[in-house]
Symmetry: C2
Subunit: 201 residues, 2 copies
DNA sequence: ACACCCCTATGACAATTGTCATTGGGCAAC
DNA sequence: GTTGCCCAATGACAATTGTCATAGGGGTGT
């Protein structure tokens, strides 16, 4: 019996995935959580064989949770299950010690298969996504550039960003200008959109 | 036996929801589709009692599909199941003839309950969301203002928007300026974000 | 017929934004 | 200890963006 921990913030989706997995004879969902920070605690308590983690969650994302699980319960294999096929996410997931990376777009039948495959010691990654992660290269943005772009996402003004980050407006404009050029964008909004799309923020 | 049509673009979520519903003795999923344009055809062929529709789908959104189902198969009750609790979505859903509006954040147990309730002739809407739809009022934006905001979402320049809509740059700036004021924003990006968040685009 | 709103457009002005050159401090690699 | 990178800052300049007044055409409703 494969013991699975399920982390996913949308309750209805989580419950539905649990129902899906419960149809499999050899799989048992032993824990369900809806927040990143609850993952490790639940893992330590229930000792699952596989942790199935969403990335976007309140209270700490699934990538951070993956790292903590690897540390605190090395016997547990981590599989990321996410909506977005962002190359940066895949890269971070692998660096965090995940052995699987699934998209919610994939057929429902893939889920149980993937779980069995990681239990058999294989890695499970959509080959197309793996390719795009390679061709996209790694994140070219410095930490500060990521900060200013993240702060640009909701339409804040330069003055607003500067205030939020406690730096001068000129510095904000310098970072933005650098990011815009690295990403081949024409303004900060496009740059922020591009960076987010690749999972670089 | 309640016959249900399921429309949801993420295959894994769709399959999982189907598994969830199949656990109920009195519910049967008779059709599954992943695109808006497939909804009506499938509904006419399988004559479901309830159509469970996601909003964001490729090939025509769930709100348009709801209207078509109401027209083509009046006996079928439409329930919207969506990630985003946007007041504009709720309003449009009701205008499209939906009798239920569920969030994917809601507990998984709610789903079957909601289906049974709409079959009993009730309407099912999150009360909190209904309130915010009332307090938000209706969409204050003119069609053209919505166009320019939608075109602003991806960070296009004024020149780019003007080209896309075949109007002069000056006109674009007029529409944007009007929208910014109506939404109490400080620039077009913030305005676009606010409008999208309310389901006004 | 008239009022009203929407769309389109222009010109002018002010404010914000993006670019570039330059400086200086801190830190890590070699 | 020198090189290189990141961060922060300033000033100046150019480009883009937002505001406002104004105006004509088209459609709707009364």
């Amino acid at each position: 019996m494969i013991r699975v921990l399920l982390a996913e913030d949308q309750e209805m989706v989580r419950g539905a995935l649990a129902a899906l997995l419960s149809l499999e004879e050899d799989i048992q969902v032993v824990a369900q959580v809806g927040r990143g920070e609850e993952v490790l605690t639940a893992a330590l308590k229930t000792k699952p064989d596989v942790a199935l983690l969403d990335i976007e969650m309140p209270g700490g994302d699934g990538l951070g949770a993956a790292k903590m699980v690897r540390q605190g319960l090395p016997s547990c294999r981590v599989v990321i299950l996410t909506t977005f096929g962002r190359s940066g996410y895949l890269r971070q997931a692998m660096e965090s010690g995940a052995v699987g990376f699934l998209l919610k777009d994939a057929p429902a039948t893939e889920l149980a298969l993937a779980i069995r495959r990681v239990m058999a010691g294989e890695r499970v990654v959509d080959p197309e996504l793996a390719l795009s992660a390679l061709s996209d290269g790694s994140n070219p943005l410095t930490p500060r550039e990521q900060d200013v772009l993240r702060a640009s996402l909701d339409g804040a003004s330069i003055a607003g960003i500067a205030a939020r980050l406690y730096i001068s407006e000129g510095t904000v404009r310098n970072h933005l200008s650098a990011a815009i050029q690295k990403l081949n964008a024409h303004n900060r909004v496009e740059a922020a959109r591009l960076a987010e799309q690749k999972g670089w923020l």
